[in-house]
């Protein structure tokens, strides 16, 4: 099977490309989850893998997220590198005990004897007109758990490079894919097996007046806001956090040292979101640099409304611009 060197792909296709690449390179990589094999995943993220690598390495599981999470732990202790899919992030909670109490702890508990090179993939975020529980963005829950990495790509290139890195990483990674932009844009992605680092934020745009900090699908609106702000004479630095935990505070602080202002944008509820940690860190470490308070643009502290009102919940470009205007005014 010959793979073109560079392909124009969507985010979800980049996920598929990374999976296929790494499965081709490393026979320890296996994929498991509901409907991942014959059906290729409900979002087609695993399409073609079963055909190429066989049922033994691409496994349709019974319907049980706790089992999926825990089976991956057992597999991992045997040197496999399971990539386990939760069909939607809203269904990850049943797997919480296995992720928090085992995947994240196995290395520490055994003093390095066993470890869990697992990737827990889940499409996350709202805005696709799906029923209840299909719009979760509770990355903060996992970011608070020591021993886990939380990684969120926001472009096809970063999806490819970060997923490769996540699979190769010897520790568990919760890999959240912003499904609202699964097919929003395409990008040229060289299928060369090159991973991206898991410990640095990505500066997508440089600027002087304000640092816009975001991740996931909100990167789209944030970049749009930055473009519009230019017209108002405001130059924004846009940072995609991408590796939400452990958090690369260095890049964020350097940027704020330069701009003196920070606006954090995320889709999750504000209260206790990852934005809180970032705001607290900046406010603590860049106290003297800050010319205005760190402001958060987020979802409301409520359950994501069903689809007739979901847009009323999601942060919009205008919200980001408004927040920037507010901090610039100070």
């Amino acid at each position: 099977m010959s793979v073109p060197e560079i392909r124009e792909v969507t985010l979800v296709e980049a996920v598929n490309m990374a999976l296929a690449w790494e499965m081709g390179q490393d026979e320890n990589v296996v994929v498991l989850g509901e409907d991942v094999a014959t059906n290729g995943g409900v979002f087609r993220a695993t399409v073609g893998l079963k055909e190429r690598f066989g049922f033994k390495r691409v496994m349709d599981t019974p319907l049980a997220e706790n089992l999926i999470a825990g089976t991956a732990v057992g597999m991992a202790t045997q040197g496999l590198k399971p990539v386990a899919e939760f069909q939607f992030m809203g269904f990850i909670y049943a797997g919480m005990e296995q992720i928090v109490s085992h995947a994240a702890r196995m290395r520490n508990r055994t003093r390095g004897r066993l470890h869990c090179p697992i990737v827990y993939r889940a499409p996350f975020g709202g805005g696709i007109h799906a029923p209840e529980h299909h719009s979760e963005s509770t990355e903060a829950l996992f970011a608070h758990i020591p021993g886990l990495r939380v990684v969120i790509p926001s472009s096809p290139q970063r999806a490819y490079g970060l997923l490769l890195a996540a699979i190769r990483n010897p520790d568990p990674v919760v890999f959240l894919e912003p499904k609202r932009i699964y097919r929003a844009v395409t990008q040229s992605v060289p299928n060369n097996g090159e991973a991206l680092p898991l410990d640095t934020c990505f500066t997508l745009r440089e600027g002087d007046d304000v640092t816009l900090i975001t991740w996931g699908a909100c990167v789209q609106e944030t970049l749009q806001a930055a473009t519009r702000l230019i017209e108002q004479g405001v130059s924004s630095e846009v940072i995609d956090v991408a590796t939400v935990s452990p958090l690369d505070r260095e890049t964020l602080l350097c940027s704020v040292a330069k701009t003196g202002r920070a606006v954090i944008v995320h889709e999750a509820c504000r209260n206790g979101g990852v934005g809180a940690e970032i705001a607290a860190s900046i406010a603590e470490s860049a106290f003297l640099d800050l010319q205005a308070p760190v402001v958060r643009v987020t979802g409301y502290d409520t359950i994501m409304p069903y689809y007739r009102n979901e847009q009323a919940y999601l942060p919009q470009v205008s919200d980001i611009i408004e927040a920037v205007e507010q901090v610039i005014a100070l």
């Binding site: 059906n39 319907l63 049943a94 689809y307 009323a312």
Partner: protein, 363 residues
């Protein structure tokens, strides 16, 4: 020294695929009025289903799970449940909800992305549609516990899919039902598929009913397209439950005749032949044949019923399409009984924004 412990489950069927009795029918078959009402509900459900799929295809409804193939077992459940019983659904129970009194408008609102679709004025104690698979099973034993604690002779029916039987919630809940002797009947709608996952991949067990054995509950298999087998099993299990004799697991064997949801394309993973064979076992047609053969039905009656159902559905759709979404502030109005001080500012922001004409937006 060896000892044996024996267990069994039994399976029941009364009608062949063409609606002919395979032998004596159960007493339920004598209640023609009930049987006719059942048939009507099946046709209404099927009409509603087709229309809702059409609405989704034209962007007027969200992702929707077709109930095609579940009409018979759903109708049997709806009929066997007493008004005072509680129904604990999963998400493919349209046939039951209609009999319980949820309006077609409510069902449309729900799948159309409007929370008011679960406000169910006419069946206020029924649990709402559960999206996270099998989680409702725990609620069912909770409701049944409340009945037991208060000494009420009410019962619960809880539906779950074949896929759902693999999830801890189902297994833990049937165990509690057995341990606490709860008045709850679990109906497993075994439609052979969990999205793309066939029944055989879901479990190595020969039947799903035998999972009851793990909980010390009786397990029954019924042909879920056989109305008489279904009502008999439901009536019996619910009578037992209300009489304080404990719960049961009923496996209703049927087939998901449609795609998993409107977001799914089943041709990717199952064959046209399999689907064709399944249609031959369709329980709605089967009951129609039975009614025909026994002289209670005619082409004219069928025509009239189809027209009536169509009209009923169209009327509901009209109201649905004319219903404005809730104001965005509603997203904070039902989170707690009263709005906590911490959220007052957020509600004000939403109100101000949408007064200002915004079409979306966070805080």
């Amino acid at each position: 020294m060896k000892q044996h412990h024996d267990f069994h489950v039994d399976s029941t069927r009364y009608l062949d695929d063409h609606g002919n009795a395979l032998g004596d029918l159960p007493p339920q078959a004598e209640d023609t009025e009930r049987t006719l009402a059942a048939y009507r509900n099946m046709v209404l459900t099927r009409t509603f289903d087709a229309k809702t799929i059409a609405l989704q295809r034209t962007g007027k409804c969200g992702t929707y799970p077709s109930v095609l193939g579940h009409e018979v077992i759903g109708t049997a459940i709806g009929q066997s449940l007493a008004k005072t019983d509680v129904f604990v659904p999963y998400y493919r129970d349209q046939a039951v909800h209609i009999l319980r009194g949820a309006t077609l408008l409510e069902l449309l609102l729900y799948w159309g992305g409007d929370e008011r679709g679960s406000a169910w004025k006419n069946c206020p104690e029924d649990l709402p549609i559960a999206v996270p698979i099998a989680t409702q099973c725990c609620h069912a034993v909770g409701v049944a516990s409340a009945f037991r604690i208060r000494g009420e002779d009410r019962a619960v029916v809880c539906c779950v899919g074949d896929g759902g039987t693999s999830k801890g919630d189902f297994l833990e809940s049937i165990n509690l039902a057995g341990a606490w002797h709860l008045p709850v009947v679990f109906v497993v709608i075994n439609n052979q598929w969990a999205i793309s996952t066939p029944r055989a991949i879901q479990t190595g067990a020969e039947t799903i009913a035998q999972k009851a054995i793990s909980a010390g509950l009786p397990g029954h298999i019924v042909d879920g397209n056989d109305y008489f087998a279904a009502v008999e099993a439901l009536d019996t299990a619910l009578d037992r439950a209300r009489a304080g004799k404990g719960g049961a697991v009923i496996e209703a064997v049927t087939y998901r005749l449609g795609d998993h949801t409107t977001a799914d394309d089943a041709t990717r993973y199952r064959s046209a032949e399999e689907l064709k064979k399944a249609w031959e076992k369709d329980g709605v047609k089967r009951l129609q044949n039975y009614l025909h053969n026994t002289g209670f039905w005619s082409p004219n009656k069928e025509k009239a019923l189809q027209a009536e159902c169509k009209q009923t559905v169209e009327k509901a759709v009209e109201v649905y399409l004319a219903t404005d979404p809730e104001p965005p502030t509603a997203m904070l109005d039902f989170l707690f009984e009263s709005l906590p001080a911490a959220l007052v500012g957020q509600r004000e922001r939403i109100a101000a924004k949408f007064r200002g004409g915004a079409s979306g937006g966070g805080q």
